[in-house]
């Protein structure tokens, strides 16, 4: 009797749970719709358009690989691809070199949560101004008559201004490192904060010195933060065009700059080719970074 009652009473609750679960799926609808309309469809269109026939003033939906052939046989475009990869690697390393010690300090050595928050807020203060202002603000810093040259000259360290500071690849790297460093610091500091202080003390108590502890405990435990930070920085740097345009004096051409130029000249098919190449490059980079750490396990 009891069994029957239990079975009968269980059945409606299962149905209710299923209904609730079905209904909850609707919560995903706006997101899925948005992603379909503004990510999946445009990406498919981009791939499709990259095979259209492009003439000087006209584009027609006649399929051809001409734009692809042009991209892979032109020194200019291949050089832009290489420059993009090179700048991405340099900026990635630079943000890591600048960001990791900062995150180590904030996440591990500052145990007061308020101080930690204040220091992290300092990191994002530059974001209170617009992106373009942040980029352009480097010009009065790095120029021949800029603050850095003036200070170095006043201190007697140099006699003539260092010209390579602005309108060069170096200025692009400096600008990008400053702009994107916070995206590296944040995830690493988060992972640092998750390390139980007693784990470090245990390693100390077992006889390990600081560098051993860093190599065997801190670094492995913060690798998920490094990978997440690297993904953030990579995706943003690979798609960059504004910093290069503003700080390199058009000497540095990234794939992003090529897209801007081609879209400006209404060469949609060729812009689409560069877009597809850039998307594939980002996909490879993100996939490679995700292989470094199993984020599902680590987080």
């Amino acid at each position: 009797m009891t069994m029957t009652a239990a079975t009968t009473s269980d059945a409606p609750s299962e149905t209710t749970a299923k209904k609730v679960s079905d209904k909850s799926l609707w919560l995903l609808a706006p997101g899925i719709l948005w992603m379909l309309l503004f990510l999946v469809v445009p990406m498919l269109m981009m791939v499709y358009v990259s095979f259209w026939t492009q003439t000087t003033f006209k584009i027609s939906p006649i399929l051809t690989v001409q734009s692809w052939v042009t991209f892979f046989t032109s020194d200019t475009y291949l050089s832009a691809l290489w420059t993009t990869v090179r700048i991405w690697l340099i900026v990635l390393v630079a943000t890591l070199v600048v960001g990791y010690p900062a995150a180590l300090y904030v996440g591990l050595f500052v145990r007061n949560k308020t101080t930690q928050t204040v220091l992290l807020v300092f990191c994002v203060i530059p974001f209170w101004t617009s992106f373009l202002i942040r980029v352009l603000a480097w010009r009065p810093m790095l120029g021949k008559e800029g603050a850095i040259n003036l200070i170095l000259q006043a201190l007697g360290i140099i006699n003539t201004p260092i010209e390579v500071l602005l309108f060069s690849e170096l200025s692009v790297v400096i600008g990008m490192t400053q702009i994107y460093c916070v995206f590296m610091v944040g995830p690493i500091a988060f992972m640092m904060g998750r390390i139980d202080p007693s784990v470090i003390e245990a390693a100390q108590d077992l006889g390990a010195g600081f560098w051993r502890i860093f190599r065997t405990i801190i670094l492995p435990l913060t690798m998920p933060g490094v990978v997440v930070g690297a993904i953030f920085v990579s995706v943003m740097v690979l798609g960059e065009f504004a910093t290069a345009a503003a700080l390199s004096g058009r000497k540095v051409n990234l794939l992003g700059n090529i897209i801007v130029t081609q879209v400006g000249s209404l060469k949609w098919a060729f812009a689409a080719v560069v877009g597809v190449v850039l998307t594939i490059l980002m996909g490879i980079v993100v996939a490679a970074l995700l292989r470094v750490v199993d984020l599902r396990k680590a987080l």
Partner: protein, 358 residues
């Protein structure tokens, strides 16, 4: 027995809070020492000072005949087992155990064969066979506790500090690990200093039991002495088995606000603060009409409720000043009469069973 560790007049304060207040301590070699203290008594601070994670404000620490203040934790030859185990979450059981040998600054073991053999021995010692390659997140609480212990013992420290090592385990496992910890220590032949807030754990495990009160060692003795002859009312309070009264002492009685308790033949213990303590299991509950013998003390109270714990029943009475008075009746010795709630009873004990402090 010579002392492996001596602390003399050690002080450590955090602002106005004196965690260690002129503490003196001597730990014998090859012994299991239990340190009992209530929450906030300075237990963890004491361990952290000994381990080197905290620097004392004053006093001296002598370990194996050498002063160790100012020596880094990893150079003290003192092992620390953390309350939360503090295992390295990204390493396997074997790698956790091998960590100290492999990564210590002084004389690390680089030969993989030697390392594997030492880990194998330690795994056998703590009973973790077959779990070597498991992640530490995939083993039970008791197994994690053993990993933490093995990881410390493999470095062969001369002293092992255990910060409430059984606190994170469930009751069954805690009881089993008590005897296992003692057995492991005997096999290793080093001193264990086991910090706990549980009086039963301290009494069951310690060859020597230290009671910490307000940053000082209030009593240091074997478990039997601590239990039967607590040196002060505060030590008696930590044991959680004495009803305590404050009051004044006359030549033949202890005068408490609730009544006068005639004294037995034993002389009062000097503790600096007068007090009267009677153990829960030394008290009989009788009807109000019963007479009292010449060697007995009587106190009236209202029965509130009782609690059955298998081997005993604990009865709770409300005294006239509102305080709770507890009586423990062991079921193996007697079957207590059923008591009626909100009814007054006479609580009676032998004069000589009470501990009187002057």
């Amino acid at each position: 027995m010579s002392a492996v560790l001596k602390l003399s007049n050690v002080r450590k304060s955090y602002g106005d809070l004196h965690a260690l207040n002129g503490l003196d301590l001597a730990l014998p070699e090859d012994a299991y020492v239990a340190l009992l203290g209530p929450s906030g008594s300075g237990k963890t601070t004491l361990l952290r000072v000994i381990a080197g994670f905290e620097t004392p404000d004053a006093g001296s620490l002598t370990f194996k005949g050498k002063r160790i203040e100012g020596i880094a934790p990893h150079r003290r030859d003192i092992g620390f087992v953390f309350q939360n185990f503090a295992l390295f979450p990204h390493l396997s059981v074997a790698k956790n155990i091998a960590f100290g040998l492999e990564n210590r600054d002084i004389d690390p073991v680089a030969d993989p064969k030697v390392l594997a053999a030492r880990v194998k021995d330690m795994v056998a010692l703590v009973g973790l066979g077959g779990l070597e390659e498991r992640a530490v997140t995939q083993i039970s609480g008791g197994q994690r506790q053993r990993v933490a212990l093995a990881r410390t013992l493999i470095t062969e420290p001369s002293l092992v500090l255990l910060d409430e090592p059984l606190g994170a385990l469930d009751a069954n496992l805690r009881a089993r690990m008590r005897s296992e910890l003692r057995a492991i220590r005997e096999r290793c032949g080093v001193t264990f200093l086991h910090v706990t807030g549980s009086e039963s754990e301290a009494l069951a495990m310690g060859d020597l039991v230290l009671v910490l009160d307000q940053g000082r060692i209030a009593q240091s003795a074997d478990a039997d002495t601590i239990y039967n002859q607590p040196q002060s009312p505060s030590v008696a309070r930590f044991l959680n088995c004495y009803n305590l009264f404050e009051g004044t002492l006359s030549s033949d009685a202890f005068i408490a606000p609730l009544g006068t308790f005639p004294l037995g033949g034993t002389s009062p213990r000097q503790s600096g603060k007068p007090g009267y303590a009677i153990r829960y299991d030394r008290i009989a509950v009788r009807p109000l009409t019963d007479t009292v013998a010449n060697d007995e003390v009587r106190l009236e109270a209202t029965f509130v409720a009782d609690e059955y714990s298998g081997a005993a029943i604990n009865s709770f009475f409300a005294l006239d000043d509102g305080r709770v008075f507890e009586v423990e009746s062991h079921l193996s010795q007697t079957t207590p009469n059923a008591l009626t709630p909100q009814t007054r009873y006479a609580l009676v004990w032998k004069r000589n069973d009470a501990l009187v402090y002057a």
